[in-house]
């Protein structure tokens, strides 16, 4: 067997349901294997840790070829809500928690949660706009420092 991975730092840059889940599954999966894990939320990825948006994350039905529905239909009112509802149902059956619970779970499992300082400033946000589990707002330099010696994954 090759050398084991000891640390992963995962960047979540998208704010859609399908953009957020993979990073969370990988971070939580790392902790389950005893691997150190960091989650770094940047740009629209911040929606995953903002109190206002965390419980309202939706599937993108427009500009998402994986949905296999024409863009114009995907743009109809209610399509995104419908797709989100269906996907959430399937995930609940698979025992995959909703985003809010999943992020708290990653945090309780020892995964560190960080918000990207540049994005926080760009969207004019403050520490208290985020859920309590967020450890701190850090710069890209801080991120590279804490990611040192591990793998970096961009999602």
């Amino acid at each position: 067997m090759d050398e084991k991975i000891k640390k992963v730092s995962i960047i979540v840059s998208k704010g859609s349901l399908e953009g957020i889940y993979p990073g969370l599954i990988m971070a939580n999966g790392a902790r389950m294997e005893g691997i150190e894990a960091n989650l770094f939320f940047t740009f629209f990825g911040l929606d995953a840790i903002k109190t206002k948006t965390i419980d309202n994350i939706k599937v993108a039905t427009v500009g998402n070829p994986g949905m296999h529905i024409p863009t114009l239909i995907g743009a109809l009112p209610g399509m995104s809500a419908l797709a989100t509802h269906m996907m959430k149902k399937t995930m609940a059956e698979l025992d995959i928690p909703p985003i809010h619970e999943f992020i708290e779970m990653c945090h309780d499992a020892g995964c560190m949660l960080y918000a990207c300082k540049a994005s926080v400033e760009m969207f004019k946000l403050e520490k208290n706009d985020f859920i309590e589990a967020v450890d701190s707002i850090i710069t890209v330099g801080d991120f590279y420092e804490m990611a040192g010696g591990g793998e970096i994954i961009f999602t």
């Binding site: 599954i25 389950m32 294997e33 779970m105 309780d108």
Partner: protein, 104 residues
């Protein structure tokens, strides 16, 4: 297939140290596996291990970390503290059930 001396007996285990015949399992074996993993079993460890065995008997699947925390009074933080460095895998190993196959 390898064998290991657990609970004073020679027991068949796979290459990750999981016992291969679930019927072989006993408390003594569990204690020895825990010791090999560097875990000293307390009542709280047994809450998790016993639940894993019950759930496996019912579903024929090893419960995931989330399933354990939802169906026992052990929360995520405590579970990671009880079984450092891989709670699902280590608890399953001690409980004599297969490694949890879920991703969550």
């Amino acid at each position: 297939m390898a064998t290991a001396t657990l609970g004073g007996k020679s027991i068949e285990v796979n290459d990750e140290g999981f016992i291969t015949n679930q019927e072989d399992w006993s408390k003594e074996i569990a204690l020895d596996i825990a010791k090999n993993l560097g875990i000293e079993m307390t009542d709280r460890h047994w809450v998790v291990v016993n639940y894993m065995r019950e759930d496996y008997a019912k579903t024929k699947k090893s419960p995931t970390v989330r399933r354990i925390t939802q169906n026992t009074d052990v929360n995520t933080k405590e579970l990671y503290a009880l079984f450092p460095g891989g709670p699902g895998k280590k608890a399953a190993n001690i409980a004599g059930v297969p490694k949890p196959a879920g991703c969550v």
